[in-house]
């Protein structure tokens, strides 16, 4: 088995999701390479080379990969695929955008969002918003996989010394042009890797009230998330969304505030170790998954909670 991980990175450094993906890849086989496709990305390549257990880093540093457009990166992976039994990426928006395109070009099925590795060909993955776990065996020669990062522990980030091999770019397809990004600025920890997450729902009533959650999150060194209802209502940006089609989180502590607990929201947080729900509706479905439920008006409860942490 020979595995190629497609790193999540921003050219300067590798993102945490890559470390979880490395843990998953190591369960598929013991020859693991990492691809850094970017532009001016030697920093990310050096970080990847320091990961323990990595055989070599493939560095594709070329202008057409600057924004990691799937149209340009997919042909590179097709060139490299012959040397590998598994192509593996985290199930981030990047990985989910890229890997099915690669799979179709290789005429294989992709295996999305795996939650466990049974053996080199067999994988567990959640379906129906995580209400059902399926185990599937792939009969394709090349496995093209995305990994649910919350289901695999992060690998160590230092201690290794893999070689870095430069590879040529595959050219710009000219199909898509990057025009810009609007990234949410926050001092808080990143949502998918935070140990504590404080999430608000429709009960927050407006975006300004999320300042209250920021204050609580500050005391807990927590990330702030939201339900789909709060994002749809425009209270907070889309990248706050926790749920079936948003982000999947599994922190040590998840605090759901003013969230009713729709199936698609539970799909994104029910693997959290401890769940707290604060809601004034005692019938809210969120209480069925909460370890600790507090039936109380959130506008009374949250300031008291914040004050109690002083």
């Amino acid at each position: 088995m020979s595995i190629l991980i497609i790193a999540e990175h921003d050219n300067a450094e590798i993102k945490g999701a890559t470390l979880n993906t490395l843990t998953a890849a190591a369960k598929m086989g013991d020859s693991v390479d990492i691809l850094i496709a970017g532009s001016g990305c030697s920093g990310a390549a050096e970080a990847a080379a320091a990961l323990p257990g990595v055989r070599s880093v493939k560095l594709a540093d070329s202008a057409e990969y600057a924004n990691q457009l799937a149209e340009n990166v997919a042909p590179l992976l097709v060139q490299l695929a012959g040397d590998y039994s598994h192509l593996v990426a985290p199930a981030t928006t990047n990985g989910k955008n890229l890997m099915p395109r690669v799979a179709a070009l290789l005429d294989v099925m992709a295996i999305s969002d795996i939650s466990d590795v049974v053996d080199a060909d067999t994988f567990e993955r959640p379906i129906y918003a995580g209400n059902v776990l399926s185990v599937i065996k792939s009969n394709d020669a090349t496995k093209v996989i995305t990994v649910r990062t919350t289901k695999f522990a992060a690998a160590e980030a230092a201690g290794g010394s893999a070689s870095i091999d430069s590879i040529d770019g595959s050219g710009d397809t000219g199909l898509a042009t990057f025009e810009g990004q609007d990234l949410t600025q926050s001092d808080r920890p990143e949502l998918t890797s935070a140990k504590v997450v404080v999430s608000g729902g429709r009960g927050m009533q407006n975006g300004d009230n999320f300042a209250m959650l920021d204050e609580l999150a500050g005391k807990l060194n927590a990330a702030v998330g939201a339900s789909r209802a709060a994002v749809d209502a425009g209270f907070v940006p889309n990248d706050y969304q926790v749920g079936q089609t948003g982000k999947v989180v599994a922190p040590d502590l998840y605090i759901a505030i003013g969230i009713s607990g729709a199936i698609q929201h539970l799909a994104g947080m029910k693997d959290s170790k401890t769940i707290v729900a604060i809601n004034n509706d005692e019938e809210a479905p969120i209480f069925q998954v909460a370890d600790y439920g507090l039936v109380m008006d959130l506008f009374d409860a949250v300031p008291q909670f914040t004050a109690a942490l002083d």
Binding site: A74, P100, A104, D140, V231, D291, Y292
Partner: protein, 249 residues
């Protein structure tokens, strides 16, 4: 311009999925079914493009057994002009779906394909990207805004860190995210009119594409439920439990 939109018949999103007693799959007998919510958004976007004068025909496509016709009638009632029902009793994997759609794109020659970003049953999030790959087209996944400008689709995508803006060469494949629009409800007169709109039935075998499965289902199961929690009476009790019982703060 012609727009091809896709829709899948799935378990209603508000119904909890249950595994069949014999463990061979999810029970879909005698349960409420609906159009995949992301596909409703895709269809709505196509209709708005036609209303804005950017498109003149919307063709809705679905793949599935006889009752898939109901889902396509919903698409027609929302405003699609005609429907193509690719008839099969089998579950077609995303790669097979992409191959079927490629064959239809070659015969229909649309200027744009709009799909849902994922179906809420399999949660694969693959078919749109695969179709774009097979056609050699650009792909705009998870789109929350689309502006058509001649041969270019200027799109905004929802990504992990926020939003990304791309200019895509058309024809291209777009997949809808939640914030793209709010789909309309079909009105009663439009539901009546939809019954007379054309629906082309194509047995999947006649398309001559390989839709044989590449994966074997080993098992399905329901994850163990969380142990029942407790209600606390006050914030002080909550903080005490979190500190001393759960030891998470």
């Amino acid at each position: 311009m012609k727009i091809l939109v896709t829709c899948k018949r799935v378990l209603d999103p508000y119904v909890k999925a249950r595994v069949k007693a014999d463990g061979t799959g999810v029970n879909l007998d005698n349960v409420k079914m609906a159009m995949n919510p992301f596909d409703e958004i895709a269809i709505e976007e196509a209709i708005r493009m036609r209303e804005a004068g950017k498109a003149d025909e919307i063709v809705a496509v679905s793949i599935g057994a006889a009752k898939t016709e109901e889902t396509l009638r919903t698409a027609l009632a929302m405003g699609a002009d005609r429907a193509v029902h690719v008839v099969t009793e089998d579950d077609i994997e995303p790669l097979g779906v992409a191959k079927v759609l490629k064959s239809l794109v070659e015969s229909e020659q649309p200027g744009l394909v709009i799909m849902g970003k994922q179906a809420i049953d399999g949660d694969s999030n693959q078919a749109g990207q695969m179709l774009a790959a097979l056609l050699g087209w650009a792909q705009g996944t998870n789109v929350s805004n689309v502006e058509l400008d001649g041969d270019t689709a200027n799109i905004t995508r929802e990504i992990d860190g926020g939003l990304e803006r791309l200019a895509l060469k058309m024809p291209c494949v777009l997949t809808s995210d939640l914030r793209l629009n709010e789909p309309r409800y079909a009105s009663l007169p439009n539901i009546m009119k939809a019954k007379k709109k054309p629906m082309d039935k194509k047995p999947i075998d006649e398309l001559g594409v390989d839709t044989a499965p590449r994966q074997t289902l080993v098992s399905v199961s329901e994850p163990p439920p969380r142990a029942a929690g407790v209600k606390v009476a006050s914030v002080d009790e909550l903080v005490d439990k979190l500190k001393n019982e759960a030891q998470v703060i």
